[in-house]
Subunit: 421 residues, 4 copies
């Protein structure tokens, strides 16, 4: 066990404190989290000592010097990393303040986690009883004891811990060797702000266009079903799409809407799923097969609008890959999956950005073919698409669990801002 | 069994045809579907005879006269209702056309269902072999036989049925007495166009405001988490909300965002779930408790923005009902659920329109209290909320399975159109 | 408007009552529900008069004679159909009973719906105020008025309606012409009892085997991932499977488990998704390709267990259909989707029962090919598979939203009971 | 930058190799993954040098000595950690083998990732072109070049890389500063083996019982709806439950089934959701309110079976916490949520194991109150419950995304094995 020295910027008049981290600090990710939090909050670190356990269950420890521009910034960092169990080595007693308003904590109260916690009172570390998250800690100084108390039980006379000084937390470590038990590492959440993400996606897409990167869209038929085909048309017309990868269904329903006009009318009248029991999509396919193909249908004036029309008109390359559930299919559909894979592979050469819209099969197929450095954004209202994509190795994917229609609408609006800006 | 006469408009020069429907025509919904399709396509009907089976398994039959403005309209109706098994009594042979382009059907081809089907050839009904949906029917007139053939197997020389004449379909009836077996009657789909729906909701909301109807919003914390709090603020400022029903979480996270300002900043920096392990929401609650309540915090200048602020400023009535997962709670929260229910009951008197946003608990609770004639719109990205609401008796609910943030954004935009229109 | 007579069984000493149904009784399904409820509860009906509106919005009415074995049975039927708005023509006053225990209703209380309701007091129909589901109705006889009161507000002295006599309900009708608004007709629920359903599926499967029906299993790779491959092997060994339809993934992961043995070990150690970043499945495919195919690998002793092994050993026909996301693929995989479709079509001839396990793509593809009279059971933990299958015309499908592993486990156990019984 | 020495076991005759890891080795988790993989595969490590970058974007590096029992074990470890970018410092050329069977790789082929890769040929590192996961690497030694080739394009004459020697991988690092962009860190999957997990849960539950730990069950009404109430009764009778936390709905539906007997019969007959439009649950509540409470109803013989009955009979403590959607409620329900929280807090003191069954509200509420060292297992078919629980700080939760009925059935069976073992 020895001392590790790292280079650090010239010493200014910084606020500095040494903290110690103990436990499985590398493989339980404690140390990465601590270092990350220090940087995220504008501080710097120097690892003064590090000792890593030899076996899985051997504890490790690290001594880290934390520095920040001033004491306030340092205090904020220390408060944050204290939750991960990083404690200042120069221990102080915890600071107490009395309740001044019944049913409320003093400002600056220490807010508990559900981890084992101790507070330092008169030089001694006391265990905190009744551990519970989102409480304050009451200390009875006379008969030294500490316990968690919820906000609504704060009453005049009680003394609560304020600040992080004199509080230490012992994180529960992930139990090794029981990992079949741990089915879920972390979270897929629908409760996230998406506006900022869509803005970033718009900027990324515009930047890839500016830089001449190759931009690919992979799309499922729900783009048409949800009425967002027109947004995709706008992306194509604005030159945001270099390559469209899809299947027979997307093209068929797009053409059905273009040719038979009334498809929305039919939906409105019947209020029943478009696919069930009717022949419109088959008539659309038949008409294209009679015309000899999509491009021919565009040239001969049979097909005058829609996603496939825009691709043909604007010279956007597309590939329709077959699947065993296809009706027809449209003449352009490549029915041999190995041939289709190989064509996808060739067309994807040089891709730099890939937007996957509401399709599991095509998203996973394309994800399998892309190198990890291609930026991939996947949009699907069903979280399972994102989960499967990630589970199958396309870990670089940024997944939005949201509805494809408003996503495309917002994307088009954000791109208009970018274009005019 | 006798003749049923209904009044009908004066006879113009209409196209008319008698059709017969057989089977469990009422309880398998065949007759309602037939009558509905006739009306939906602009036709009219007269039930000339109806005989309803006495017991569940007794078949019924009806003779229905269908009329339409012209033969083309009539043909369209007959084609549609043929899929439900309604057959013209004046039977004709089916009409055949040869394949003229390999791999395509003749235009006007009959498109099959997966139901048992017969075609009439030379006065005899032939069963159709290899029944499969989305095919054509090939008839070999010499050795009379008929079978389903998919589009890609259409080759020159084959004769396909065109039109619906001479084709009859025998719908499979729902098997009674095995209904534990039938877990799913119909469908919750995310693959629907939502733009039109949001426009209608905007119009309905505006109309209720114009008519002086009472408009209620029920909202969960995901409204804040997804960054759509500002849209709800706009609805409040524009006078679209008379009553807000929510819980401690919505108000807490709204106030957290208003008071601590950096909450979005924190999310951006940390990229981790907002709720986990941090104290911001608790500090927000504590500050409001110290101020004596939300209204006091607005008056004293502590709280200057957000949903709750707008409610106070614009005199919008609100009720925060407690739940066992609440931290704090905020002083306004009614912690006894019977008292809260009773207050909700009183405040909901006279409600005419209710918009439920991303909350299961509060939506079901409010749904329980509303009479069936109040218009209810429920928006949630998780289909299970809509399913539960419907399963618990609030059958009048119109449910959109979509993301709450783009929904509110689109709603605000549509309302701006309505307001300026 | 005239009288409709239907045949009915000889008159025994039955309890009989005439009820009237009004409104859109056919197309809002009121009449079917009433007739269905009468039968379901052991009664019989005779439609004495029926008048059906000419246009969508014209009301209809029917006069139905309800009969049951005794007065108790009749009362039960009348209570049930009253909720659908069917009211006895011989009107009585409602019956009242006083509260005898504070906070509880009298036994036999009338339980409200959320529909508009009236009660008959002293020969006059009074509207019920404060309409709310799951309440009782309090009548103040002196100043005749009626209102809904929740259970916890029942106090001594109040008079509550008991029974259904003298109560009438006016169902809200589905508003026609606004159906884009109505996204969800009914429900997909995970909150259903499945034990009985699995028992019925086991019996159906056994019966199809006894009768010599052709039994098809369609399976996705989650069958292997969830550890339920062995249950499918048992079904095959017990002769329950005539045909297996799957893709490259099911066969690959099955063979990976069989060949590399340690795959579960790997899962346990790593606790990470099996597919991500590792080569096992590719080595498994490679070994089979080197052997010349699955059958050859079985014959040469390379492959000694698993689903594919059991198929080869027991002569169970199988088809592996290709998709664009396939690695390898295994030599048996049919890579042209039209060829695969055609082979599926041929192999499915004569199918009578089809069990679809945890696959969307293959389930929809097979559903497209099956006639409506084939019994189809679909099992998937993701409700969207069932929704899509139903939306695409395979309406006969019985869908269980449940986990495939315990489903197969329970199915095997139920079949063991059937086999030994 | 200096050398770090850790203690290690006495030197046996081990296979040893030095590897180097570069990049953001701590905060991109590369080093933890490498160390973990070494241990997982039975090896040992010694960190000979480590240098950690000062700022977020400064690269770090580590020199790690890997040892294993023999060369075969070492090779396996090196192969595994090579995927994380850990490369032996003693570089060798890659090893090539020719294709011997068309369409297959040589045994022992190197299986690619989607990360940037280089191979060493004649002492020079060559970039690999056409990077794609799940391929082999072809090297053309004459004009030195390397590229990814999928299995089905392997043809005689091509030379493929075998083994991991001479291959190095450059992992893409998580891009810092764009984390709003990264909505999903990892995965919730339904495609996992659950049998082993249920066995472990059974053992854990039994062990907690043996050790005298306090075992808590939190349950939602779906336990009753899905027909698994009897399994929970068995757990209670077998002494596995010390405390039941639930709401009004679980108890109400349990009692409805117990009192009205026919509820399953009703479900079977009607095939409609149990809650919609009927009065059974209200009659059940009313009867218990008339009896004075659940315990009184048991004593007086009114309530003779079900979950609540078993609790009363076996002296199992329970708490029913109220919510705003409650009907009735049952007399035992604590309607003030702060009082309920406080009672839960008291009753949960000393809890060591908590099983949460099919409830979001109660699971999160209980999760909020438990310290992190209590073992928590959450079972719900809807992944969102697990996600929310984890998002709200109860990170120690082991979540099974599965159907509660077969879960409980399997748990009871596994416990029977444990009890008899």
């Amino acid at each position: 066990m020895l001392t590790l020295t790292t280079a650090r910027p010239e010493a200014r008049d910084l606020a500095v404190e040494d903290v110690e981290v103990r436990g499985h600090i590398i493989d339980s990710l404690t140390l990465p989290k601590v270092l990350d939090a220090i940087c995220a909050l504008g501080g710097a670190f120097r690892i003064k000592e590090i000792a890593i356990g030899q076996r899985r269950n051997d504890p490790s420890h690290a001594l880290v010097e934390v520095s920040a521009d001033d004491e306030a910034a340092l205090a904020k960092i220390l408060a944050q990393i204290a939750d991960y169990g990083a404690m200042p080595t120069a221990a102080q007693d915890c600071r107490l303040e009395p309740v001044d308003i019944t049913g409320a904590f003093p400002e600056g109260f220490y807010s508990t986690t559900n981890q084992r916690t101790e507070v330092r009172v008169a030089g001694r570390w006391l265990p905190v009883a009744d551990q519970e998250m989102d409480c304050g800690i009451v200390v009875q100084p006379g008969r030294p004891s500490a316990r968690c108390v919820p906000m609504n039980e704060a009453r005049l006379g009680l003394q609560f811990v304020v600040g992080h000084a004199g509080v230490r937390v012992f994180p529960v470590e992930r139990s090794r060797g029981t990992e079949t038990f741990e089915f879920m590492g972390s979270a897929v959440s629908t409760e996230k702000p998406k506006g900022a993400a869509i803005r970033q996606i718009a900027r990324a897409l515009a930047e890839h266009r500016t830089r001449g990167g190759k931009r690919v869209v992979v799309a499922g038929p729900a783009v048409v079903h949800t009425g967002s085909g027109e947004f995709l048309c706008q992306l194509i017309r604005s030159g945001y799409v270099d390559l469209l990868l899809a299947g027979n269904a997307l093209a068929t329903h797009d053409i059905e809407q273009a040719l038979l006009g009334t498809s929305l009318g039919v939906y409105l009248d019947r209020g029943s799923p478009a696919e069930a029991g009717h022949a419109h999509h088959l008539r659309a396919i038949n008409r294209i097969r009679r015309a000899g193909g999509i491009a021919q249908a565009v040239r001969s004036g049979v097909l005058c609008s829609g996603i496939m029309y825009e691709c043909v008109r604007h010279g956007v390359d597309f590939l329709l890959a077959g699947s065993i559930r296809d009706d027809g299919p449209l003449p352009e559909v490549v029915t041999d999956v190995l041939v289709a894979q190989d064509l996808m592979r060739q067309k994807l050469r040089g891709a730099t950005f890939c937007l996957m819209l509401a399709t599991t099969l095509h998203s996973i197929a394309v994800g399998n073919l892309l190198p990890a450095w291609v930026e991939v954004v996947s949009v699907d209202i069903n979280p399972s698409t994102a989960v499967k994509l990630s589970d199958r190795g396309s870990f670089q994917t940024v997944a939005l669990v949201t509805d494809v229609a408003p996503f495309l609408r917002a994307l088009v609006e954000e791109l208009a801002v970018v274009d005019s800006g």
